[in-house]
Amino acid sequence: MKRIPVYLLLTVIAAVMLYPLLWLIGASFKTNDEIFGSVWFMPESFDLSVYKGAWKTVTPYTMGHYFRNTFMIIIPKTIFAVISSVLVAYGFARFDFPFRRFFFALLMAGLFMPSIVTVMPMYILWSSLGLLDTYIPLVVPAMFATEGMFVFILIQFFKGVPREFDEAAGIDGCGPLRTLFFVLLPCIRPAVVSIAVFTFLWTMNDFLNPLIMIHSVDKYPVSLALRLSVDSTGQGYEQRKIIAMSVIGLIPSVAVFALAQKKFVGGITAGGLAG
């Protein structure tokens, strides 16, 4: 029974952490008086019409439109990030080649380089190519394994797969790519899922890159649309609508996390980051 204090402590921490989120959902149904009048998250009544209004947004487009934009960035980006990171990690984990150590050092160095330095030059580059206000600047870097952390995690996972697997596949006549796809990838699925989920979540949350690269409202992803709505609304009923919009905006992240939760947390847990 000495576990009861542990449970108690964990429950208190969990409650403190989750309460703001519960409160946010509750607040979307509340009047301003209610929001500032009580700490309890439950609203007096559930009027779903606020969500209808929130879906229409206070901008010229609906949430559906912004979600579509977001997914037009996220889906290719996730696919590219997974493919490029897997190939690069496979190369590092299983092959010897000239300057291997040097390139690995570059990979590690990339982890520690502050991304803010790259903002302006990338803006100038994409601008000179005439590609601002398209999704290309947001998607294309993912083709080149630019997220060093992903490669690093995958390398750790590849190392966990015995080399005999590769050798057996080789004897059966599999080339490197077929070995990768049919033998190794099934073994490291949790890591691949983790990478896909991370790409999804980070892109969903990303604010700075779209802010710099995307300028027309009809191309805005959800994050910029929310910002626009916040900036262009006053007090009163509209506040509730903003809160409801932000709740809608959280749904994809929470849903993806919930769906992938088991594999995902397993993936990062086993991620070998504990090196």
Binding site: I35, F112, V117, G175
Partner: protein
Amino acid sequence: MKKSSYSNPVGTGRYTGLLLISPFIVGFLLFTAYPFVCSFVLGLTEYDNVRQPEFIGFDNYRRMMSDDTFRTSVGVTLKYAALLVPAKLAVSLLVALLLSAEIRGIGVFRTVFYIPSILGANLAVVIMWQYLFTSGGLVNQFLELVGASPVSWYGDPDRAIFVIVLLRLWEFGSTMVIFLTALKAIPKELYEAARVDGCGRIRGFFSITLPQLKNVIFVNLVLQTIAALQEFNAPYMLTGGGPLKSTYTVGMLIYDEMFRYNDMNAGYANAVSWVLFVFIAAVIGIMFAVTGRSRRED
């Protein structure tokens, strides 16, 4: 990694590996090396994003030394990192220790603690945080409930930074998971042996757990420090750098100089971002040196 463990798979040549990592090489050149060099060159110019950059040598760096806004932002950034990083590591480790107890339902707690960190600086979270800390918001209402006097979080230059620190602290999940993994990897025999030798729990924590965790503590320390020194999103969206520039981080200064509508000076912004880069590199270098790691093992 010993070289001898490398015999390339059958039917592949010396360059197959190079071919596989070629996306990384191209990506590194295009999206890391090129912008870093370009940023340094821009830092030696005066550039307003319209006219051609004009070479002015190290004037931007000289200007920094006498720029009060720059000095303020450095102070804010250091204070922010000093407040956040130790707190986040301590909370993550503490919760990871609680979670490492193998008891039923622990998975649920792990998931719950992880959720805030997946939301990052998602605008919805920012909106939520704004409501929580506004003058009549949830936090002040709670303070009144327990008899404390409400606090003007956004109006007080001494308090505003805590709103941002607390947001990032709330998102301790990813750091915590890394600790948790490492805790699980500590061999149980160590604790058993210690118990036989009459070693108590607290002593066990200091003489077994902490030494076993020193690698992950280091990794988390480095990652969190880099992130904290670059902080931009949270102050930009929560406080706009105010009040009285009390949350105006170096990241915000760089963004303002780069993209503000009038009087922008992208040359200066890039010089500042290089100073930030060199500073971060130096901090990490010192961390590696102090802990006696001249080189990471792969």
